[in-house]
C-alpha cells in the first residue's frame, strides 16, 4: 500500500515538472518571438502586440534584460528626427518599453535609462520624461 502511494506521488510530481517545463518552453518561445518583432524597424501595430507579451511578464528577469537590450541597441537612434515617421513611432515604442521597466523598478535598467536622459535630443520629450520617471522609480534594494 505504502509503495503504491509513493509511486503515485512520484508520477504526479514528474507530471507537474513536465507541465512546468512545457509552459516555460512555450513562454520562452512567445517571448523570443515578441523580442524579434521588437528588434525590427517599423511595423508599429505588430510591435504594440509584442509589447503586451512583455507587459504581462514585467517582473521576469529574462524580460527585463530583453527590454534593456532593446533600449540600448535598437531604440537609441542617433539620427532621430520627429518628422521621420518610422523614427517617431519607434520612439513611441521605446516609451512603452520604458513604462514596462518602470513597473519592474529593477536596477539593471539604469544604464539604458541614463543613456536616454543623457542623449535627450535623440528622443521625444515624452520618452525622456518616462526615462526620468523610471530612474526615480528604481528600487535599489531589488536583487
Amino acid at each position: 500500500m505504502k509503495q503504491k502511494n509513493l509511486s503515485f506521488v512520484a508520477i504526479l510530481s514528474l507530471l507537474l515538472f513536465a507541465t512546468n517545463l512545457l509552459i516555460s518552453e512555450v513562454q520562452n518561445e512567445e517571448l523570443l518571438q515578441a523580442y524579434n518583432t521588437l528588434k525590427k524597424a517599423g511595423e508599429y501595430e505588430k510591435k504594440k502586440k509584442a509589447l503586451e507579451v512583455f507587459a504581462k511578464n514585467y517582473n521576469n528577469e529574462k524580460v527585463i534584460s530583453m527590454l534593456v537590450d532593446l533600449l540600448m541597441y535598437n531604440y537609441d537612434n542617433p539620427d532621430f528626427k520627429e518628422n521621420d515617421q518610422v523614427a517617431f513611432y519607434d520612439d513611441v515604442i521605446a516609451e512603452e518599453i520604458i513604462k514596462i521597466l518602470t513597473k519592474s523598478g529593477h536596477p539593471s535598467a539604469f544604464p539604458a535609462l541614463l543613456r536616454y536622459v543623457l542623449y535627450n535630443k535623440r528622443h521625444r520629450d515624452a520618452t525622456v520624461n518616462a526615462a526620468w520617471k523610471a530612474i526615480k522609480n528604481i528600487d535599489w534594494n531589488l536583487k
Binding site: 536596477p107 539604469f110 544604464p111 541614463l114 543613456r115 536622459v117 543623457l118 542623449y119 535599489w140
Partner: protein, 149 residues
Amino acid sequence: MKLTNLSILILSLFVLTSGCGKKEEVKPTESPKVKEEKTEVKKEYDPMEDPSFSNVMKVLREALDKEKTSQDSATKLNTAKAYILVIKFLNTDKERVKKAGMTEEDIIILKNDSKENATIRLKEIISSQTAPENIKKEAEAKLRELSSL
C-alpha cells in the same frame, strides 16, 4: 603587665602606620587647558561637487530642462558641469553601479557619453565670440578637469 605593653605597642604601631597611609592631595601642576577655538570654516555646500545619486540626477535633470529654453553660455557651462558630475558619480558610487549590473564596458560607454556631451558644450563656450571672459575661463578649467577624469 606584658599584655599592657603589647597593647601599647600595637596601638602606637597602628597610629604610626595610619599616618603614613594618608594621601596627599595632588595639586594639578598644569593649568586646565583652554579649549581651542575651532578655526575650521565649514565649506559651503555646492551641489556641483556632490556626486551622490539623488543630487546628480536632480542637477542633471534641472540643467537639461533649462537648456531647452536657454542656450546662453552660462546654461551650457552648467550642463557641462552636470555631465562631469555624472562621471564623478560613476567613479565613486561603486555600490549602485554594481547593483545596476553595469559591466566595465557599460561604465566606459556612459562615461564617454558624458565626456562627449560636456566637451561639445565647453568647446562651444570657448570658441564663442559673445561668451563672457569669466565663463570662458571656467569652461577652460572644466575642460582640463574633464581630461583628468
